[in-house]
Subunit: 276 residues, 2 copies
Amino acid sequence: MKLFKKTVIIGTGLIGGSLGLALKKEHLVSQITGLSRHKRNAILAKKSGAIDYAAVSLEVVKDADLIILATPVESIIGIALKIAKKIKKDCVVIDVGSTKEAIVSKVSQVIPNFVGCHPLSGSEKRGAVNLQADIFRNSICIITPTVRTSKKPLNKIILLWRKLGCKIIILPPKEHDRILAFTSHLPHAVAFSLMGCIPTELLSLSSGGLRDSTRISASDANLWCEVFLSNRRNLLASLSAFQTKLAVLKLAIERRDKKLLIKILSAAKGKREKLG
Amino acid sequence: MKLFKKTVIIGTGLIGGSLGLALKKEHLVSQITGLSRHKRNAILAKKSGAIDYAAVSLEVVKDADLIILATPVESIIGIALKIAKKIKKDCVVIDVGSTKEAIVSKVSQVIPNFVGCHPLSGSEKRGAVNLQADIFRNSICIITPTVRTSKKPLNKIILLWRKLGCKIIILPPKEHDRILAFTSHLPHAVAFSLMGCIPTELLSLSSGGLRDSTRISASDANLWCEVFLSNRRNLLASLSAFQTKLAVLKLAIERRDKKLLIKILSAAKGKREKLG
């Protein structure tokens, strides 16, 4: 079942390109045109079948029925402002950015049929070489409508992500950013700091524990710099909460307080086991 | 090729039991007797073929040629002191504890043929239900002799771990503890704290990043409490180094200092990529 006809994906990296592959695999759109800052990404996306056409100009948006903004967070608002006056009145526009409050509040002012989305399917791997149609299957997609979001495009977009295998969670944009600060941005900030403090010459003497707990510190620096800054206030709050927890653990070690230590470690273990 | 005849494994949990399986698979010892505080572990270890006999008393050490101390770190010294006068003069004793300085200095005083070992093959999984002969293959085993360690047992133990597929690293016990504070104990302390500060009701809205970076916080609380306390001074130093890195990252976010942020994130990414 086709949900949309002409589709334009702006940003054909890991998420944008994989989304192209998934939409085609599920036959949800008629044709896909891709645009990328990096010519190589657009060429690779076309080769892998994620897009039908590689375009070089934003003019392609003018007869699109669905536009997917899949560029890094800092450029989403700028691109939305640029395309707002070019698109058809009933064109549905979504983004897949990691933060939502700023994007949704700015973009929904200029594009009435805008639906903010955040599929939790990212990876430390980037770019069109790692495209996979199935990265959305069994993952969560958070959708962040506002009171002004029209019901019809919203329901179509919910259906689109469902067809890709996502579990849908609806959240206000502000709530999304507060939560993701804890469940995604904080773990990244911690992993970057942990990796940063391990002396390079000791790396060869580590085991799977360090490897797992720092995997996400191999993520793109520019991309995460922008995510951190675009969710600055919430991230600072979650960093403070983490610093407090760490300070209490350190104090328990300093004081050789076994009872407190086992209480802290057991609570964390119990919580981690819930995560599965 | 048999390296030892009668072998006794004290502590038939994940490491002790898996070591039994591996030693038998490679035909490195003639027979293995296992002892465990937890009756269930010894029974499971015997069922899985990790040990030939399950014993209930430390008396079995008296005719052993090789004794492997594979209990949690806090009980290794106590057990070593108990068996020191029971064992044969040429019996070789090794441990597989996560910290080495205290264990090696105390145990080598009472058991001349003692060789401290630390295979970096642990896991957040514990107990005899998760035994695997191959957890040592392609992993690192750190061996921590002192100036007093006799060459003959040392070389035999090095050969034993090599036959199990380990890459051997020789380190002074003190150096081992300083390094592992960074590459193993700190990541665990960080993972426990990170898990601890994430509000339970937000756990369902996380992705693979949080899952990976907190995997080791599902580790056993009692075991890690003892590891932390037995390497207290080094761990506190590595925790301080981490706190400083984290504070600098937080300041860069507070000040919206993109240049510094990208520098921090890129350095971590580069280091992580070396880890493979």
